[in-house]
Symmetry: C2
Subunit: 332 residues, 2 copies
């Protein structure tokens, strides 16, 4: 894409053209080499306009009611004058076409609003790549005037730790009930929660709600303190019935405004940016070295020998490092 | 050190000479370039003789009673015919001479036994370096015939995640009592525990013990499942009074033998070895690149600009990667 085209795409985007925003995100997500420089240009243009949004991570196991809550929360924010962008990184939302449709149905109010933008983030490619896309998409959405970014992610694997490096605040959604279904909550998720939201509370008996709240009250003191110095509060919601949504939104806005006023938000975002620079450099450096076929083969062989116990892991790493030091890996 | 000297040091070591083992570990820990090849030779010699030990991580906040428990557990193991090596990575054990002395006093039985070897691991240097030393020290100890390795670590920071990459099983020590002191338990520690050990139980009232057990019973279901498919059991001990030590040892040996028989132990150790190879390679590669003063300066400048928001993190990473691609970083 020529620079003039990139500039005009960006002009449309900053004036709130949703089609232009969608095309810009597609460029960011493109794996084709020819799109790289246009994508980088777009980000450079968008950067100065970004940063004003409230970035909220929303996580929880499939079925916990993320889409329904996002729909209610988003509609509430729009009614209060916000413009809302929803980025769905839930792989189950993107794995099949049917599922995306499912999400659109569950986000009915938002998908009908002119003030909302919904975008599933591709789950293909490696996690680092997805993280980069999600971060750059946030920048584009903010440049397009969206001042509330809801980043949906499914609570499995490491993704929530990456999300914690992009958001200002995180909500962890849980269904009240027996402890068993909470087993799905993986390493790090509870630790990165600023608010724990019990969902679908109308479906639960009073005793179930009490048991869930008391189990959480017992578990929360075991969590490490968030950098903000807080531990998560537990809130009850029923998005379909519209219960608890106002209270949740008020609480989130209050936390955000506190963090903004006491400087925590600025520091958090600065740290996040340095994290992403280092992360991207490390990934890129590794990728660069591994693209040498001879090196890749040597690494694979050594990995197998390490697994067999034929060579120690540090010795194996040294064999690889020697290749770099000697210049066996050709550097163009 | 000439190869002949290395060989004779190793012969002494494998015949159980504790002085030789201590000297070998000192070589491993040496930061001097001239010791590197002797250290590598020693590890190569020791590798085939290693792997037969039971590797147990013992973690908990300072004051929880790690040394006292290690003393009792170790004495029990020696009585059952084991040879016990204690590697103390607790920085508070090594920070001052007085503290090491303190540890020796608290490990009185062990420090008097011919079948025990106690070694504080230096906490100086970066974590990766410490991890490497600890891993290589385990290899040397096993080659010297120690078949039970107790790896003590203080439960702060990331160290316990690194320890989880070296051990077969981990014990997390906690003092029963009000929830407050448990705040010290950091990210990842509870998740890497195979057994939670309540210590100093004679000092606690019955109600305190009950409260601690019930708080843990509530918190444990929120932990992710260990790869072994287990969740930690809570055991009560009083090392000074000798209570609960036999039960703890029996439980640990049973877990270890289960893991050995069902193949989990082999897989865990193979995965650990691949982890350390990759970890050491990444660290080494980064170190290699950063040792170029011009690159280091560019990185520092970019970090500051990223923090200020003057440049995006991914763009900054690309600037650095371009330096590598162009060969601006001289490779000898």
């Amino acid at each position: 894409m020529a620079l003039a085209d990139t500039n005009s795409l960006f002009e449309l985007l900053r004036n709130g053209d949703r089609g232009a925003l969608a095309r810009a995100i597609t460029l960011i997500e493109s794996t084709q080499l020819k799109d790289r420089s246009a994508a980088a240009d777009l980000i450079s243009l968008a950067m100065p306009l970004s940063g004003k949004g409230i970035r909220i991570g929303i996580t929880g196991i499939p079925g916990v009611g993320k889409s329904t809550l996002i729909n209610s929360l988003g509609a509430q924010a729009i009614a209060a004058g916000h413009r809302v962008a929803v980025l769905a990184t839930d792989p189950s939302s993107t794995r099949s076409g049917g599922s995306i449709l499912g999400d659109k149905t569950r986000m009915e109010d938002l998908s009908r609003s002119e003030q909302a933008f919904i975008r599933p983030t591709p789950s293909s490619g490696h996690l680092g790549g997805m993280a980069r896309m999600a971060r750059e998409t946030i920048v584009l959405c903010e440049a397009a005037g969206y001042d509330m970014i809801l980043l949906e992610t499914v609570g499995v694997g490491q993704s929530e730790l990456e999300v914690d490096q992009m958001t200002d605040l995180n909500l962890l959604l849980m269904i009240p009930g027996a402890g068993d279904e909470l087993q799905g909550i993986k390493r790090g998720i509870m630790e990165s929660a600023d608010v724990i939201v019990l969902t679908k509370t109308s479906d639960s008996k009073k005793e179930q709600l009490n048991a869930a709240q008391s189990a959480l009250a017992n578990a929360i003191p075991f969590l490490p303190m968030r950098e903000s110095g807080r531990q998560p509060k537990v809130l009850l919601t029923d998005a379909l019935a519209g219960n608890g949504i106002t209270e949740l939104m008020d609480h989130v806005l209050e936390l955000h405004s506190t963090d903004r006023n006491n400087g925590h938000l600025t520091k958090r975002r600065q740290d996040q940016n340095v994290h992403w620079m280092q992360h991207a450099f490390r990934e890129g450096l590794l990728e660069f070295v591994q693209q040498d076929p001879e090196f890749a083969k040597a690494e694979m062989d050594l990995r197998a020998r390490v697994r067999d116990g034929a060579i120690g892991p540090f010795q194996a790493a040294n064999v690889l490092l020697e290749k770099i030091r000697k210049g066996d890996v050709p550097l163009p």
